[in-house]
């Protein structure tokens, strides 16, 4: 048995917590997806390093 009694307040807030959790999960998917697309399509390619005049 749980030490703290479940109250209506907790039940009502569960929906809000799930909503926030899903929003954060969606944000992770979006950032990951955008990163994959940008990397695989060359959107984030680094500029080629230019050689300095003394050849280093």
């Amino acid at each position: 048995m749980s030490l703290s009694k479940q109250h209506e307040l907790h039940r009502r807030r569960r929906g809000r917590n799930i909503g926030v959790g899903l929003s954060l999960a969606a944000l992770i998917v979006i950032v990951l997806g955008l990163t994959v697309v940008k990397v695989t399509r060359g959107g984030l390619e680094l500029q080629p390093a230019t050689e300095s005049s003394d050849g280093i």
Binding site: G15, R16, I30, G33, V37
Partner: protein, 310 residues
């Protein structure tokens, strides 16, 4: 005081996730999503589907953020109007400060992420749209001039231009035409609404045209703007984003829209109140179909062009 004590009266108005979602004005967001998507897909540049999805999502979030900021600033007059009294802030479910925080946070998020996902021109346009809607329309025009929705309508007209800019990195004449279509559509759409929810605007002392210049003038304005809109909408059919499908849709819908505007113009208040503003309400509903059908036709033309149909 014990650890288990709390005020049982407060939790019943505790905000649910849906209340925060309602702050983003989801119905307005539908229009933003659709027109932005059309702007993006009508552009002559192929965009990766996931980038396109994210771009439309960020534009929608930016539009939603401006809705939350609008509700933060307008909570005093929202409480006075029957149409808006049940919004989360006047209903007491969300604090004004929460709406302000959510609006600012989502604005920053949407602009930065749109810039990172597409380009900074699109991001700058989104930032300007949020600024225009919140500062120019909500804080300034809405309470000071009957031209509020004419100029403020620009905020709702930007999404297809942002979509186009997200795809191309520039602003073409086609994007300007899509902007103009929504911009010219807004006044007759809102004035028809104002004709049948007059009491609301009276109560809130919002200077809508119906309040400041009377209902006869409003009916004339609806007719004039609808005629100008019809010329623009049909004329767009002969540009790069037009075509046979668009032209057919534009001809039919503008004929219906003009007929509705003439009916509104010819009516007096006795006739309008006699049938509980049936003509005005019908015109308002038609205006929703009008915009979706025009942008839908632009989308069809873009798809047909890509498939080489004509």
């Amino acid at each position: 005081m014990s650890d288990t004590s709390f005020d049982s009266r407060t939790y019943e108005t505790d905000a649910q996730f849906g209340d925060y979602y309602a702050l983003l004005k989801p119905r307005v967001m539908t229009l933003v999503v659709f027109t932005a998507l059309v702007g993006l897909l009508a552009a002559p540049v192929a965009v990766h589907p996931f980038v396109a999805f994210c771009a439309v999502l960020f534009i929608a979030v930016g539009g939603g953020a401006s809705g939350a900021l609008n509700m933060w600033y307008d909570s005093d007059i929202d409480a006075l109007m029957r149409r808006t009294a049940k919004r989360p802030i006047p209903a007491g479910r969300v604090a004004r400060e929460e709406a302000l925080g959510l609006g600012l946070a989502l604005s920053g998020f949407a602009v930065v992420f749109l810039g990172l996902a597409t380009n900074w021109l699109a991001a700058a346009l989104l930032a300007f749209t949020i600024f225009f809607y919140v500062v120019v329309y909500t804080m300034w025009l809405k309470r000071s001039t009957p031209q509020n929705i004419v100029i403020g309508g620009a905020a709702g007209a930007f999404p297809p231009m942002i979509g186009w800019a997200a795809a191309t990195g520039s602003i073409g004449i086609e994007a300007v035409l899509m902007f103009a279509l929504t911009f010219m559509w807004t006044p007759p759409h809102f004035w028809a609404l104002a004709l049948f929810v007059r009491q609301d605007y009276d109560n809130a002392t919002v200077p809508m045209l119906t309040v400041t210049h009377g209902r006869r003038v409003t009916r004339v304005h609806i007719l004039v703007y609808t005629a100008l809109l019809a010329a623009l909408a049909v004329g767009t059919g002969f540009t790069a984003i037009g075509g046979p499908v668009y032209l057919a849709v534009a001809l039919v819908l503008n004929a219906l829209f003009l007929r509705g505007a003439v009916q509104i113009w010819r009516r007096d208040e006795v006739a309008a109140e006699g049938d509980n503003f049936a003509v005005e309400k019908k015109f308002f509903k038609l205006s929703l179909l009008y915009l979706f059908a025009h942008f839908g036709a632009i989308l069809v033309e873009a798809a047909a062009g890509r498939l080489g149909a004509w």
